[in-house]
Symmetry: D2
Subunit: 376 residues, 4 copies
């Protein structure tokens, strides 16, 4: 599938690519086997064989074909497990995937991908935040017009404006970092009772959580999907921040305002035209991301012990959500990293607003401190 | 305006009614005056006059007319302040609203309404949660079919199903209770610099926060609207939980399944028809709420120091969001409070699935404990 | 319920008020009775008694209470029919609502409200369109900067810009006028078979369609809700047009651009500030409307012969959709009606772009002609 | 980018792939050249050289790289035109893209892709419709329970149910077929004035419309994006129909209801489990599609003569919209093509509802006739 490259990043393509998706699912099968052995419900030799085959997985079929075959079979884990059973040999074959169900592998695999995606998001947020912090500090006293309802109102400083952007972004960072507590191991077996492990189910889950470094939930979350939806909410909030900042940059870069400029893209028809292409890309990608988040946040039925549709939608909307969000924050960072601030123009645009920016400097400090604390 | 009563509650109508909206704005003006006096930027007599007039506010104009007049004037605070200046008398008039701007009063007033709304939401969640907890405990060992992708899969217990619902709801409760840390005082003056208070701006804000019992933010959040949007996200997540639970109830109440029944609504054409009307209302209201949340979560521009539109949309979408969410959780609670569980039918529907519900009972305990801790 | 008055209009409040909603439902019951008599399935005297009671409906209960009671009873038509049976007297009582079901009355009543709402929308669109047409003509040769990606690009005329706005609005008008073909009578009885009328069901439907001036559909649309959703789509498209036009007005009215001005709203803190309040209201209301449309367009389940929730959501989201859309178009019209165009500033802002606006004038004509044809 | 294959189709991948996107843009550049020559604003030899190079386009760079390079350059047409100028040779180079702008090529190219996509959608709708028509006819008299609010209400026939599905789908087909009148040529030059063609601009546009078989609009639609948004609305409505039909299939296939069955997918953990995987895929893909449509229908700003973001979002959301919609309708068709109807179970489930299905048969005819007319 060919999504326009403006709406993905090289990282998002890797993390949410077929190969990594399959690799993460194999990582889950491997961890399940090892945990089962540790909990005494699987022979160690079988677990080792499974682990080895997961790590050295080979097949003539591409990951892409495997996922396509999954829709024929009813689940992507059906062909995966079938092939894995071939690879591990006759003795270990009965132990492959033992006690688990498709949802365990798909959800835990997705959680591993999400964790990678959150890592990338955090890095992008920190990068953008550092630039904003530097701008806030450098322009602590650069007076400019504050504009409300799109009309000049009273003086602020560019430092205050940058601090206002950073203030929101700092909370995005906090929310992003808090998310992993929600991103729990999924292990429940066919209906979430762990019945296939006898009394040892929780021991397997605990060990599997340890191996994968994931929290073990109070109970399987086969049907309580707020964990995924809350992830969507956090990314939607970050996308809104991007649109806020990039939107202001575009407004400030208007020729008639002229208070900032950025790396410019050209035009196919007008020489010398300077379009704020990174900020534009940021808003476009953020809006795409927002739409994906809305899918995951919608109040649709999630029937009984596994939803007939709403669950499957996550398989595509979580990736598109991360593609768009990462593209948006990356593009914003690029716009910010090339930002030129035209203080003289800011001053000229003040007109008769005066220059009393009140506590702008104090507010800059109050925003910078917690951000610096957060990224130390 | 006449919203169908299924999509509001008596509390939501009071909290988000014109009268309370105006009362909360007056509470803000009063707190501003008192805080200004305490910080030494306003004579105590003026502050007392303002406080008295806010508390005894009288006018021939209804609150509704005042808000309509606001759109003529450009802001609801314009007619409010004009009338307040008449009421306080000539000496105090110049001190009314001094240093503040419309957004300070509107946002802080909205935050006060939201706080009331969250209180109602929390009560409804706790009520529904207690019923779920009782159901989970009572039916710890009531075996029934677990259904995945809408087909029978393996045994669970009704206790586990109720625990799964409660598990999500417990996190909704946690998120709801965590929100007030975001719901901060708004005080910034025209562009968020507090320039109108000289050096005393932060002292005024601190005192005002103390009076209204609201956190004082690092800087005014005139333009960083994630506080409102995160509120929307939390309510959207709660709405999703409602749709999950109410949806399952409706599925279980199908005549062909017959595993639960609830208070029934009748039909205008068929005698004896038994419709699960409260669960239906819950899903309908939750979907309405979800749509309102989506408005507040959308990545739209929030221009410069006060948005030309996106801010105003909050004035209507926050109320509709709370109407829908409170109606949804209230209706779910009513459906649950009248729930009858038909264990014999559950048993009959098991067919040849067996009766091994694995660790269902253990999971019930693991979910009940933190919920009980949370609502102790 | 108290929706901020910026997001409703006096017409929208009347059309979607409780009283009119009830009146329309009574109109449907009356038409059903008369049509039944005409088709020979009801005594004429009973039909006359029902008609008379519908027209002179009196009750101590307010319309609002009736709709609240509906949620207790299971349907708003249950208390309505109960009261109507009291009013018509013993002989006619058994004929009240005969053969119909709640959905027939609710849906047809809603269609009647929608038809009124579309009439109001059409008037607002025509009003705004006429102003745009006059602007396009008057400023056929008023050269200004065309701006792409928010940067000056090449000359256009303000007439072309107004024509571009009108071009979209003309299609909104066309879509609005085409909608009534979708807004069909609903008459199906409990499950859409018209079984209660024996062989005369279609005759009753045809006569009822004639009385209410509504198309009779191929079959009852109890479950094919695209008629409502397509209505939502048309209003969503109109809302987008409003945001386009009002957004451009706000951008052109920026002090640094200064090419247009409109009726200004004031500020509670800054004397002399001139905020484009009507354009702001237009964008805010349009965004609210867009969110309501999204609810109605969402791909949610519409179960079997009557949905358990999705149907009920229409009862609130159709009204909020019309409130927002009508408010948006009305506010845009007001902004446009007070528009001042500053041609000298447009000229000054051209800078070195030259003045060759190409075929701008020709395009103005090509847009004006079909609009004038449409509103002749 | 790796979208899960359940949410695309082989056709959607081809039509919205990088290669076809590039091919369509080259087709536009070629048509522009030929039309310019025909209108006398370009030497025929230059036009022929451009046409030849567009048709034999070769480059070491993949289409994917070109689109990535576009974000560096500011527009995908910048590297495309640069390479095309190399290919056509020195004499023709100045004529490449003459008078046009990026948006002309991107929008017209997208329109060509959309036209292909609508062709695929129409075929899928007709295929599904034919199956529904056959089911409606075959089961004209197969009595089953009509269910309202998820409770048994009164008898219908399965023919009537299928006719109800077909009734909505017939309107989807009508809307799909009506759309091409909106999908117009885009040719306006940098700001929509066609200034680069002198007096011959309209002649070029007319000729280009003839070559590409596209309607020529009253004026360039650079900024009136309802054409794209209306496309989104039509696909959203089709997605809703899919969710309605597939949702009912899933409900009817519940083991406890057992009135239909379809091709079943298996499970990774439970042998013999029969999941209605195609209907599940249909609902999941439809919901994904609905989310993409919502992005395109949202009331976001579309600034001045070319939007800084909202336009770019179309580049990704139109493709994802078609991927999801085509996948949904294709999957629904597959579910329907394997449908088995269990009439005896329908009869048994009727219980004491009786068997009077009223005019069900008449309604079947009234729905079948226009559908057959439409697909003759």
């Amino acid at each position: 599938v060919s999504l326009d490259p403006g709406f993905t990043t090289s990282e998002s393509r890797r993390i949410f690519g077929f190969d990594n998706r399959l690799a993460r699912m194999l990582e889950v099968e491997s961890a399940l086997a090892r945990a089962s052995a540790a909990a005494g419900v699987m022979p160690t030799a079988a677990a080792e064989a499974i682990r080895a085959s997961c790590e050295s997985w080979t097949t003539e079929e591409s990951a892409s074909s495997l996922f396509a075959a999954g829709w024929e079979a009813g689940s992507p884990v059906v062909p995966l497990v079938a092939r894995l059973r071939e690879l591990v040999g006759e003795d270990a074959a009965p132990y492959v995937h033992l006690g688990a169900t498709t949802q365990d592998v798909v959800d835990t695999g997705l959680v591993l991908q999400i964790r990678e995606g959150l890592g990338a998001l955090e890095r992008h947020l920190v990068d953008a935040g550092r630039i904003l912090a530097a701008l806030a500090e450098r322009h602590r006293d650069t007076v400019m017009a504050g504009r409300t309802l799109m009309q000049p109102a009273a003086p602020i400083t560019f430092g205050l404006k940058a601090a206002g952007w950073l203030d929101g972004l700092t909370r995005d960072l906090e929310r992003t970092r808090r998310l992993p507590e929600r991103l729990a191991l999924q292990l429940g077996g066919p209906v979430g009772t762990l019945a296939g492990f006898g009394e040892r189910g929780l021991a397997v889950a605990e060990e599997m959580g340890r191996i994968l470094d994931l929290p073990v939930p109070a109970m399987p979350w086969h049907t309580a999907r707020d964990r995924i939806a809350e992830t969507a909410a956090v990314l939607a909030l970050a996308s809104r921040t991007v649109v806020k900042v990039a939107g202001d940059l575009i407004l400030l870069a208007q020729a008639e305002v002229g208070e900032v400029s950025m790396r410019a893209g050209g035009s196919s028809s007008l020489e010398g035209k300077r379009n704020p292409i990174d900020a534009i890309r940021a808003t476009a990608a953020a809006r795409f991301a927002g739409g994906q988040a809305a899918i995951l946040l919608a109040a649709v039925p999630y029937e009984h012990e596994r939803a007939a549709g709403a669950w499957h939608t996550e398989w595509v909307a979580v990736p598109t959500l991360f593609h768009g969000t990462l593209a948006a924050v990356e593009a914003l960072g690029r716009a910010l990293s090339t930002l030129e601030v035209h203080a003289e123009r800011m001053s000229a645009n003040l007109g008769d607003l005066g220059s009393d920016a009140g506590l702008a400097g104090r507010f800059v400090d109050r925003v910078l401190d917690p951000f610096r604390e957060a990224v130390r």
